[in-house]
Symmetry: C2
Subunit: 327 residues, 2 copies
């Protein structure tokens, strides 16, 4: 899917606050940006054809082997690569509602959807619901399918215990996806990685094009690992703020908010469509939310928000309250 994702800020003018992507908009990236500007001449040379030096650094960080890591140009690139690499399995399954690219990538490569599909996708925490499943549940799902992909793009925004790369290597059919885009709030750079048993990484690498990861993404990844920067001020406080926003929104008559274990959550507006609310908020308040009606399994009334600062969250609640009163 090209259009219809969140962070479609390029389609609007005058957006001041962006709740539409699952990313904290106020991360302090000043040191990273200064580092990239000092190394901007990296644009002049080809990046490594395969991002081996960054793979070594990630492996070291995770306590696994470098041949158990594949660095990719963002988690979405990983999703398409995995669908491509296992296309001879022919069937897949996915738990809706979830990120639409699993469906799209599998359909592109001719898979059929079946409850017992060979290639199973789990998003944990799940987009758009923000729900986390247990390690036991993951083990169960993994034993029911030939290959399990657990997309942990949002792993750094929950305090629930999630499978770590080193834990999962003993399950020879399980692949974890990780998003440096989300961890470090750098979606413009395109950077992520896959961890899996070496056999799986080898077969994915054979299907992967050279020079896929640009030189500045690679430079940023290495610097961020070395410098262990803290980008989101404090996870506990941020998750508490998310719950405060959720409670304040759910107090509005006509708004239902669903449970979450991360920094974003799903809502439904009763009196009208989410599209109508989205247009109003963008036009009248410079606020962008994610119309979630195009997630399979959801309705025209669903929308998703990712918590931002307290002031911005309060502004969102006030703006939605005003919209509901005016109707």
């Amino acid at each position: 899917m090209i259009d219809g994702h969140g962070d479609d800020i390029y389609s609007y003018e005058g957006i001041r606050v962006n709740f539409s992507s699952n990313i904290y908009a106020h991360a302090d990236l000043s040191k990273l940006e200064a580092h990239l500007c000092r190394h901007i001449d990296a644009i002049r040379s080809y990046p490594e054809p395969s991002a081996r030096s960054l793979e070594k650094a990630i492996a070291h960080e995770c306590g696994i082997d470098a041949d158990e890591v594949l660095v990719v140009s963002g988690a979405t690139d990983a999703i398409y690569l995995i669908a491509q690499a296992f296309r001879d399995r022919k069937t897949y399954c996915v738990y809706h509602p979830t990120f639409s690219e699993y469906d799209d990538a599998c359909q592109l490569f001719g898979y059929e959807e079946r409850p017992d599909g060979a290639l199973c996708w789990l998003c944990n925490p799940n987009n758009p619901t923000g729900r986390v499943v247990s390690k036991d549940f993951i083990r169960e799902v993994s034993s029911a399918h030939e290959i399990l992909v657990v997309d942990q793009s949002y792993e750094d925004y929950t305090d629930y215990p999630l499978p770590q790369p080193a834990d999962m290597l003993c399950q020879d059919n399980t692949i974890l996806l990780h998003s440096m885009t989300k961890r470090y709030c750098i979606p413009g750079l395109r950077l992520g990685y896959i961890t899996a048993p070496a056999d799986i990484i080898r077969s994915l690498r054979q299907q992967y094009r050279p020079w896929a990861v640009n030189a500045l993404a690679m430079e940023a990844g290495k610097w961020l690992l070395e410098n262990k920067v803290q980008l989101v001020p404090d996870l506990k406080a941020y998750l508490q703020e998310t719950q405060r926003l959720r409670q304040n929104l759910s107090r509005l008559a006509g708004i239902e908010c669903f449970d979450t274990q991360t920094n974003f959550f799903l809502c439904a507006i009763q009196p009208c469509s989410a599209a109508e609310l989205k247009e109003y908020l963008a036009r009248e308040h410079g606020i962008l939310i994610r119309d979630a009606s195009n997630f399979r399994g959801l309705t025209p009334h669903h929308f998703r928000v990712a918590a931002q600062t307290s002031e911005e969250n309060d502004a969102l609640v006030a703006a939605i309250a005003q919209f509901l009163q005016q109707r």
Copy 2:
């Protein structure tokens, strides 16, 4: 192929002069770099899921329609996308020696190589030979195959007349690849585009992942088109310098140099392997050349060089002369 390409500078220490990639190493990128540093906060937001705004600018520049352009993350990304999109055609053909990724991408998607293959690849100017074929030859090849891809990655480094995007749209089976990496000497950023009839672009776009082009590459592309910067001092002088280097090298006993119509060319060393020469030049002189022995159709004696400044070119000739004398 991951290893074995040119510009493998990351594998060596102390390289001072790089003849191994087909890129002019002294392009003046200072204004572009300053522009990117001013817009480094582009890393904080998702790029457009599909690079439509840059596609419009390119279409305007080429005098074609925006739906006849697809911006990609470098020409190699385009090669894999095209092989993927036409994989139901099942056969391909390619003229050796040439860039190895056409073979690799087609084999990845299960194609068989046949002289009458449905999907035909032409590199023009050709890598590694630097030879240019005529527009008539391209028309002939195009009528002999279901689909023809002409990779014009090196189009800005020849003064021979090449097909322009607008000329080729009347041939409904012909795809042109263009490399902004090569045109603007920015291989670290990953940027290229495809021009083709709208039907072909539509089917390629359907197979393409979202957010494929990073935000800084997009920012650079737009700025470069707007500012029409001249990066290589003067094409005529650069091509003359290339011919001077070629003649000086071919005067060395034991070195054969082949014809070229661009800024790089193929050589063969008789007394030993190109690998041996490459190691000597890297170790003793900090000079990197491209061992071309892994191009299909070439021998262990072949190597490729791209001309640089006169002084650097003279240093290459002197270093190879020294190597030959010492043997």
